[in-house]
Symmetry: C2
């Protein structure tokens, strides 16, 4: 692992690290915020998955999680959203290719070699962070924004028991039912939509996956709510499955990190309550 930077922030360290990923076959960069803690102490961790166009950096500078994480003693990890680099295929659109990995293991060419973000965020990065940082892997939470909200919900649904807490901001709840999902999953996974179901929170719930409870914030002025995010599909699926879902429609808030930053402290506190119970 290559140390990129450390800055003191809110009584903790905001660090950036780079490493060669086996999952993606590329260097990958991630940010990790570590509150001050007693020597030898292990802290609970929240994994944060970012949205379209983001790198590890967007949440690190815009999400305003650090104060709440310092207060509650929680580590916060922000991975990148895709492999990157010269040998990595890309696409001119913002919603496909680099910056738009959708947290899937691609099966279609030319994406299959590098676009293995599911393996990266589900297996490789957690193992790496557990080895090098003072995280208590028995106390993990997961959250994310937009495409990363989709990531957080689906990773949690596919790994029952791993996360004590799951939340999302303005998640893409059903790639099977929106243009962003159609485009990305057709490209990464192919035309057979049955292969998409493990990357769709609504389909996962329909197919029997469960969450203990879940917190979702969604802005009512979000320009993508009706056409892409479709929060109601997730609300309906949770209701039908008996999942304890708190879905808060936040009046007047849009899709940006101005929205996320407003409510991140609530989410960190909500996670911390469950991670430290």
């Amino acid at each position: 692992m290559e140390h990129v930077s450390t800055s003191r922030c809110y009584g903790g360290e905001q660090e950036v690290w780079k490493h060669d990923s086996k999952a993606t076959g590329t260097p990958m960069t991630f940010a990790i915020y570590i509150p001050d803690h007693a020597p030898g102490e292990k802290l609970p961790v929240i994994w944060w998955l970012s949205g379209l166009t983001c790198t590890h950096e967007n949440a690190m500078i815009k999400c305003e999680y650090k104060q709440a994480c310092a207060q509650h003693g929680v580590i916060f990890v922000c991975p990148d959203t895709s492999p990157r680099g010269e040998g990595v295929p890309n696409h001119e659109d913002y919603d496909f290719g680099q910056g738009a990995g959708f947290y899937v293991n691609a099966t279609q060419e030319p994406w299959a070699e590098h676009f293995r973000m599911r393996d990266y965020v589900e297996e490789e990065l957690p193992a790496l962070v557990a080895e090098h940082f003072p995280v208590d892997m028995d106390r993990q939470g997961i959250s994310g924004h937009s495409m990363g909200g989709h990531g957080a919900l689906t990773v949690s649904l596919r790994n029952p028991g791993r996360f004590r807490s799951t939340s999302a901001f303005a998640p893409i709840v059903s790639p099977l039912n929106c243009p962003w999902g159609d485009k990305a999953l057709t490209g990464y996974l192919g035309e057979d939509r049955t292969a998409w179901r493990e990357y769709d929170s609504v389909a996962l719930i329909e197919d029997g996956a469960r969450l203990g409870e879940v917190l979702v914030d969604q802005g009512t002025a979000d320009e993508w709510l009706e056409g892409q995010l479709k929060t109601h599909l997730f609300a309906d699926a949770c209701r039908d499955a008996g999942i304890d879902a708190t879905i808060r429609m936040q009046e007047g808030y849009d899709h940006s990190y101005f929205f996320v930053s407003t409510f991140i402290a609530d989410h960190v506190a909500w996670h911390a309550e469950r991670l430290k119970a």
Copy 2:
């Protein structure tokens, strides 16, 4: 004025506006955060001056002022740091030309026509904001970071009585005594260093200017502290002049917005206490 964007954030509106500036002869963009308030109510305002390389956007996304401003009912304005555009002279270095206006009225060619940031932040922008937004111009505070800390201190020192509160983060306290200052003020103002004194907080104090009181935060791990910022020169000048200066050396903090964001809520509260007294 051209409306660029509005996003709801922490129970207020983060807005961005663009206008044709008479001072600089260019379009100028600024960010303004307006907490929710009663109809007709006017709110105190904090002017924020940013550092080298910044636009209006850096503080808006990194400074984490919004929660504190919402809590205290204070408007927060972030102007750009220089004129910009194709017809505007520039320089390849990060610390001179566009993004590095140093809040001076340039007298040297080719800068004199557009680089009139003193007029812009001291006169034109306040008048514009007072006309279009619910600010109470009897309750103004000013702050800033690095080059913008220099701006905040010098604007306040030159305008006695205008600001009820003045603070700074890691300010360049004396352009007369550092390489950044040498380069920028030689370029904008020429070789005659007596013309620089009205743009140097230490020289202004030596020449008789006063502040009621002032709050400064400075990180001890700031890579520019020794060679450029030289906080001790300001501390000495305040002591000699009997100015009530609170200068807090923050252990382990660097020069970044990770440092600023950690202490901005303290500053907003400190300003609010004076603005609402």
